[in-house]
Amino acid sequence: MEALSQFLSHYLIYMIMGLSIVTALGIVFSKNAVHSVISMLFTMVLVAGVYLLFDAEFLAAVQLLVYAGGIIVLFLFVVLLVALHKLENLRLYNTYSLVSIVLVLFLIVILGATFYSMPFGAAPSVVHNIIAGGSTEAVAMSLYTKFILPFEIASVLLLVALIGAIILTKARAEQ
């Protein structure tokens, strides 16, 4: 029993990651846009699971709340309201496949090189040790003290975008 649970806690992370890759592929390869969105939803939920396993509870909750609960609903709204039958006839693989293969290989090489040269170190375990009272408090402390200025700037920017969107659509509706 003990061995099993240790095995689980050790390999659960890989299982979740693997699943999330599968669902992520589902986003790209499914021909039906609604199926894509569902795959995306599962990917988001699984990513939240990854966060949870790294003891980033707050991040996991926010991931669920904002991405899985909010943004994908909007995606789904758009997909449902736009005519879908046209998408069914779309060809997934275009004729420039040779070019794309070369480009993708190039991208993989560059990304790999970047990852290889980055000094990642043992960050997760450090984080694990710092926050005994839960990650929520740590996030809050850093957000509202050290990073208060970027935080506020980001919020103002979002507000501007929000108001801008409303004004743009309103103007169109009145025309």
Partner: protein
């Protein structure tokens, strides 16, 4: 305690206990709904199956099991199949962090009392809100996959409604969280030992009740399934167990929001002030308080007409959200003073 008991046996036992209780409650909530509303409407309600129709929910359950599972010809089979599941799983998962009592030994399974909650997450409340926001997809996808106009309208309506009402619902809960200084559900209850949060947070409490009714798509905000307009809303085309899943999810959600209200405003498992001499077990107090809320649900349904869709949205955005924001400011002001 050894490792196996702590990490495997106890959680499993808790999970099984909670789920059995929740499913039974859901079953008999449907019975209670029919009975309570029947008595309010001077009729008898179910009387045929068992004494006073007590076995009616079980008969209904069997009926739904045995019913033919119809899938519309032009439906998207995969989405049609997965929608009820998406709907019910988050509803049940929410019970993970609901503390149903102070401490328990789980009928002697644990040698010393353990917290009466499956998992006391430090982000408990946030977790419930996060997980319940997934439930929207079930309704939205179910409505779309049926490939029929009324379900689609119902699905879109309810998704818009639930997304909108999540905002004031969450904001209303910020007040108690600020006062308790924790997101843990147990922590919030324990912070109310002196005074229930319903007293200082009365504004948030009232908004929460209204939003909770809207969030669970119940009367007078039951527009997604307003039968006189949209036939049966998003589950018009569903039958058999799939329909039962939607049904169960709705009632499970009712219990979840009632539990949150109890936890955040009415002191969870704490006894009613002045009645603590009764020495009732803590889970009885909890059940009683949740029961009051559930009764309120039924009472409202028997009394009020239905709002119109735009009116519902207007109330949500123009009234509830400002009120909850003001409540947060007031709470912050008094906490900082």
């Amino acid at each position: 305690m050894d490792f196996t008991t702590t990490y495997v046996l106890l959680p499993t036992a808790k999970i099984i206990a909670v789920f059995i209780v929740v499913l039974l409650t859901v079953l008999f909530l449907t019975y209670a709904e029919r009975k309570v509303i029947a008595f309010m409407q001077v009729r008898l309600g179910p009387m045929r199956v068992g004494p006073w129709g007590l076995l009616q929910p079980i008969a209904d359950g069997i009926k739904l099991f045995l019913k033919e599972d119809i899938i519309p010809l032009k439906a998207d089979r995969f989405v049609y199949w997965i929608a009820p599941t998406i709907s019910i799983v988050p509803a049940l998962l929410s019970f993970l962090v609901v503390p149903w009592g102070s401490e328990t030994t789980l009928f002697g399974l644990a040698k010393q009392p353990v917290p009466a909650v499956i998992s006391d997450l430090n982000i408990g409340l946030l977790y419930i809100l996060a997980i319940s926001s997934i439930g929207i997809y079930g309704i939205l996808l179910g409505g779309w996959a049926s490939n029929s106009k009324y379900p689609l309208l119902g699905g879109l309506r309810s998704a818009a409604q639930m997304v909108s009402y999540e905002v004031p619902l969450t904001l209303a809960l910020v007040g108690p969280v600020m006062m308790a200084n924790t997101l843990s559900t147990r922590g919030i209850v324990e912070a109310q030992k002196g005074m229930w949060f319903v007293v200082p947070q009365i504004l948030a409490f009232l908004v929460y009740i209204a939003c909770a009714v809207a969030e669970t798509n119940r009367a007078p905000y039951d527009l997604p399934e307003a039968e006189t307009e949209l036939v049966a809303g998003f589950h018009t085309e569903y039958s058999g167990m799939k329909f039962a899943f939607f049904y169960l999810a709705e009632y499970a959600n009712m219990i979840v929001v009632s539990s949150i209200a109890t936890i955040c405003f009415l002191g969870g498992w704490l006894p009613v002030p002045g009645l603590s001499f009764l020495h009732l077990p803590s889970f009885v107090w909890f059940a009683l308080k949740v029961g009051v809320f559930l009764f309120g649900y039924l009472w409202i349904r028997a009394t009020y007409p239905r709002y119109r869709y735009d009116q519902l949205m207007a109330i949500g955005w123009k009234f509830f959200i400002p009120v909850t924001l003001i409540n947060i400011f007031i709470t912050a002001f008094f906490l900082l003073k």
